[in-house]
Symmetry: C2
Subunit: 325 residues, 2 copies
């Protein structure tokens, strides 16, 4: 391993160990192709459909890798997390499988469907006020008070390595890729995927895609250091990070070729394309990487492109609200 890779928080071995833990537990999600998509994009496109992962998004991989790796004493005390979305469900499912109690902080105005799903997986939910409370301070306080292990949605080596198993599967499922497009929020998914590609297919350019309203990682790539942004409104609610993670950023900075942004209309177009042409339900945050391809934000003519569809958790009513808007 080169010195630059050796200094990073995770390496390929961590991802391989995650894959062993996830074997038979996480779903090996299918790679889907579409002639219509290839024609539209002028490329050969492989869609890695994490929409079919347990809990409906890639998040399960990292959460399970983290919780199943905890020492027995921590498992006995339980875990906690803060999330209004896919990480909440992922931690709830993973904790249930590991026989660990999970407590999830969720905004009081989180969609009822998501709260019900999280509780349905056996987790306890505590509400907070999305606008008045500091969620990070709250969850740290909760963890300290109750002696719980905090499962961070991205700034956690086991979470990052777990998300990297998306790429580990993908390299085994397809021929060599020229480009891999990955949605970016806090950077957990892309740091895991970039780690795998840097070690196994260094010629593949790994490119991140953020919503324009939350372009902290794109800005950070330009300046070369972690930039904090004021997060704007976007339908891509799973990617509203204000600043790249402390652990994810060095990996992204070192191994990711570029980070680009897409706007909400481009995300809607990608969701519509998935629905009408690929017959796939993809949530806004799950569709940003495809949006960058379809809208030409990343020119990929004639290249072999992998695209991670990272999640599909949107209800019929939510979908209609997004597509009608």
């Amino acid at each position: 391993m080169s010195r630059r890779l050796a200094s990073l928080p995770i390496d390929l071995d961590d991802v391989h160990r995650a894959a062993e833990r996830l074997d038979g537990v996480a779903r090996r999600t299918p790679v889907l192709t579409s002639r219509t998509l290839d024609e539209r994009a002028g490329t050969t496109v492989a869609l890695k459909a994490e929409t079919f992962q347990r809990g409906g998004a890639f998040k399960f991989r990292g959460a399970y890798n983290a919780i199943s790796s905890l020492p027995a004493a921590s498992r006995a005390r339980g875990v906690c997390a803060v999330s209004s979305g896919n990480h909440a469900q992922a931690v709830a499912i993973a904790a249930g499988l590991c026989d660990v109690r999970a407590t999830i902080l969720m905004p009081a105005d989180a969609p009822a469907l998501k709260r019900v799903a999280t509780e349905g997986y056996g987790a306890s939910v505590i509400e907070f006020d999305r606008y008045a409370d500091d969620r990070d301070a709250l969850v740290i306080e909760l963890a300290r008070e109750r002696g719980l292990e905090l499962v961070h949605p991205y700034d956690n080596r086991f979470v990052m390595a777990g998300q990297g198993t998306v790429a580990l599967e993908l390299v085994a499922q397809v021929d060599a890729l020229d480009v891999l497009l990955v949605p970016v929020g806090g950077g957990g998914l892309i740091s895991g995927c970039a780690t795998v590609f840097a070690a196994t297919s260094p010629g593949t350019r790994v490119i991140g895609v953020e919503p324009a309203a939350s372009d902290d990682t794109a800005r950070s790539m330009r300046s070369g250091r972690r930039e904090r942004v004021a997060v704007g409104a976007t339908i891509a609610d799973g990617q509203q990070a204000a600043i790249p993670g402390e652990l994810t950023w060095p990996v992204v900075h070192e191994l990711v070729a570029a980070v680009v942004t897409v706007d909400d209309d481009q995300v809607r177009e990608a969701m519509r394309f998935c629905f009408e042409r690929c017959k796939l339900v993809v949530e806004p945050s799950g569709a940003t990487a495809l949006a960058a391809l379809l809208c030409g934000v990343v020119p990929c003519d004639g290249q072999r492109v992998g695209v991670v569809l990272s999640g599909g958790n949107v209800g019929v009513a939510g979908f209609m609200g997004i597509m009608g808007g």
Copy 2:
């Protein structure tokens, strides 16, 4: 082969020959599973997702098998079909692949998306008035006048055998099934599938599912002969047949265990379940078999159940209209 099977219009060999023609041309569609679905249905369910077939529905299999089997002289003259839906696109794609000219009669009020798609695949479209014209007479007249080969959507041995490849794939993809649920319109899909199961897995009960508004096959099963019904309004527009096919009926009568019906609300519930829990876009006619399972129309507790999701051709606007209604 038993005498009763030998007297039917198609047999397993026909389906095997269809599979050879379709090899590398049709998509081998995935079988999807869902823990949530298994829990909800109290069974082990295998979803055969023909939504991912070329043209978005199983219809491509039969159309390609029929057109590619035509003698050279017929191919040189061209083919025709009448359809407002999936059969139109299937014939258009299949004809294009066989370098055969296709003329499709479509109702003047067919969704623009479907007309554009059909023309996009290279077919010529001729409009007719859904309410004033007799579509069957029109297409027979068109075939006669222009010397075209009429590709019937179901009453054609090659079409029936082609649709049977759905079942041929399924038996290779899953362990033995106790029950197979199949949407029924004219009977092409279920006659092909029942032929395969009767020959390879006679213990599997093949059950058809119709919309209640078009229950000709269910009535025919009760009376033992082809019954004609006045077709009512239903969102399951791909299954609005008035009478079972002449060729399909003997197969259905002989090999299908039962035909049940579902109403539009049950179909909507199945579409919503597919969307929210399986992340799959399924059109109304494609969801009827799942509706029968989810709504308990066919009790399957503890059994191993296969369900054909036969098509996914519904646009975002159409979907919103159906789910909002």
